[in-house]
Subunit: 414 residues, 2 copies
């Protein structure tokens, strides 16, 4: 039997035991992992050095290499992340509602773990710890398939997790790593419906599309964010400037950063020169429509493709629109349904935007950058869902659960 089937079977078995663990037992396991990671940081850093070295040999540099690299501080932060997960309330076992039918049946809707969660992700080894921690806390077994670039780091980390969980008397197979990082094995994993209940890809658009295209297991699509800020003719232009600067430049490489600025034509002359000057001063490249370029000489030409792009970089597309109707139409056409913001002082336009924009998070007078598990108050997140099924927006512990109906009878027949 393949590595995957063996691991899948083991994970499924473990999931039944995990679903019955108390919150105290789960927290104890998480604590043991948090302690072991810090205690064995040298081991982790040693394994990570091999990954970093082979990445360098392949010519990887800059942000990618940085994301792969682990040090004491980063390991401590992974460990702290687990301590935060321990402090979150356990969603499992909550009876969300219970009602009595005329025939006397009492029907309750109870929160239960999803079962086995598969995570397919790219080079960041901290995802290994985050994802494992969240899955365990919600009572799920997890099968991790990280990228080949981080395989040594991931093997060591998952080894440490396994030992820690064994000490805490967890079932074997609660957290497993797919060690064969070939594409064929990834595709095999995407079709393991018998053992894996849900697949969550974490990474770039290419990875996510590959999982959506190949998986027969239910997938939660995460992450791609082509987010917009629309500045209405009735708005506080100082506020608007602060919001677009924050949404674009506070962390351009993340999915909730803004990629396109839409400006109402009635205030284009007043807003575009000042806002784009400020953004340019912050090293943002502007790609504008014709009207934008008439008002700001430094802008390059935006082509049709730019409206679809998630730059994840110091680049902003800018378009002058005739008003809120065109803004809504543009966003619903080109956006990725992640996070969208309007800046306005108009009550009716704020309501229309909230109602008519089809996205996970819709903002009035705030930066798109707030779409995040911590910022929303969920404490931690496994990703940001951009699909409409099951979960939308930041996914915390609740989104890693399902429900079942529990029915109390006294011999009722139909």
């Amino acid at each position: 039997m393949s590595e995957l089937i063996l691991k899948g079977e083991l994970a499924k078995k473990a999931s039944y035991k995990l679903s019955n663990l108390s919150s105290a037992a789960k927290n104890e396991g998480l604590k043991k992992i948090a302690e072991a990671l810090v205690k064995k940081e040298k081991e982790i850093i040693g394994a990570n050095a091999k990954d970093v070295e082979s990445a360098r040999a392949k010519g990887v540099t800059g942000a990618l290499l940085d994301r792969l690299t682990l040090n004491s501080k980063r390991i401590a932060s992974m460990s702290e992340g687990l301590m935060q997960i321990i402090s979150l309330p356990d969603p499992v076992g909550e009876v969300i509602s219970m009602w009595k039918r005329p025939n006397g049946l009492q029907i309750g809707q109870k929160r239960v773990p999803l079962g086995v969660i598969g995570i397919i992700y790219e080079a960041r080894p901290n995802v290994t710890v985050d994802a494992a921690g969240l899955c365990i806390k919600a009572g799920n077994a997890v099968v991790l398939r990280g990228g080949s670039e981080a395989i040594n780091s991931n093997k060591t980390i998952v080894g440490i997790i396994g030992e820690a969980l064994k000490e805490a008397a967890f079932p074997e197979g609660a957290v497993q790593l797919v060690e064969d990082t070939s594409r064929e094995t990834a595709v095999e994993m995407m079709k393991l419906n018998k053992y894996i209940d849900v697949l969550i890809p974490r990474g770039g658009a290419g990875l996510i599309q590959s999982v959506v295209q190949n998986s027969t297991i239910p997938v939660i699509e995460t992450g791609v964010g082509n987010c917009h800020v629309y500045v209405d003719r009735e708005s506080d232009l100082d506020m608007a400037e602060k919001i677009i600067i924050n949404a674009k430049t506070s962390r351009p490489g993340v999915c909730n950063a803004a990629e396109t600025l839409l400006v109402d034509e009635a205030i284009a002359q007043a807003f575009i020169p000042r806002a784009l000057k400020a953004l340019s001063d912050l090293k943002v490249e502007i790609r504008g429509c014709e009207k934008t370029r008439d008002l700001f000489m430094g802008a390059k030409v935006a082509v049709e493709e730019d409206w679809y792009k998630e730059y994840l970089d110091y680049i902003l597309a800018v378009k002058v629109v005739s008003g809120i109707d065109e803004a809504i139409e543009h966003i619903n056409k080109y956006g990725s349904k992640h996070s969208e913001a309007i800046v306005t002082t108009s009550y009716s336009k704020s309501q229309r935007f909230l109602q008519e924009i089809d996205a996970a998070a819709v903002y009035v007078n705030a930066s798109t950058r707030f779409t995040d598990g911590f910022e929303f108050g969920f404490g931690a997140e496994i990703g940001i869902s951009t699909q409409k099924l099951h979960a939308r927006g930041p996914m915390g512990l609740k989104e890693l659960t399902s429900i079942k109906y529990i029915v109390y009878g006294e011999g009722q027949i139909r």
Copy 2:
């Protein structure tokens, strides 16, 4: 462009308008359809007669032919079904919760339609009306792909729906039928991620598996039910007999009917002869394990495959188990995670069964036949989900919605 892409585009456009319709407007549309169906019943029966004739020519008989056939009474019942949907509360627009963050942001979780729902189903033309009614009430556009056997009935019904909705000033494309019933077109539909948000197959195991295997659109798996009744050593045997008779024979062709009876060995001698005699008298074929056959001569041999089977017929597999541990293990291994029942007077065993059985609905001392939207009090259902993502168990109007976060700010940046 293909029929499908045109219909998909139209549906997507319609979905934005539908998501903004008031409950009153949606109810008005449903009322117009309900009236039109009854008014034009001759037209429908005429079209249906063609379908019935070609089915007969192909040798279709019995239950299948019966399900395809429409008459005045059945059309009236389709129309009444719509009136019931009108009476249900509209789930769209509800703000499920709203909270304030330390930075002053107010974040609300609001119920919104899913968008465009695709339904792929088999020969029953009443599904056309049911599904359209539920989707519309929850603010969704719907693309229907029925089987070739019912194409004339479906064309006529969807034509009537379209006219009725036009009268009620609904957007064009709210309810559409895929008229090309080839397999290729069905597979093309399963990959129409750009326009269809969710796919719900309704039909037999073959259809559902084909959709799960081929679709790149998120799917809600419905329907396959290999349901069990476990009779514990501590139980009221009269109650147990009534429950298994009801679960097996009240409607054997539906997914919540029982397919396997598990009997605790401690009461096997007392229960098996009487219960299986009663079932046999009701024309139920028994397929038993060795111990069962020792206690009931009329039983045929059950082979390994029988434990996996959804007979949908007057057949019951029977197995003697050593107690609740083996019962739980058997059900979690062979069951389809639909509906499972224990008959017991033991508090601790009832709790263990509710906790450890992994299924959409778990019953203590009641028939599995209650897993149904009406019986649960949801008023109507689009199907019974056997997956864990998004919806589990009977899916009513709420399960045809998603959520979005609405965020009220005053210029907050991060």
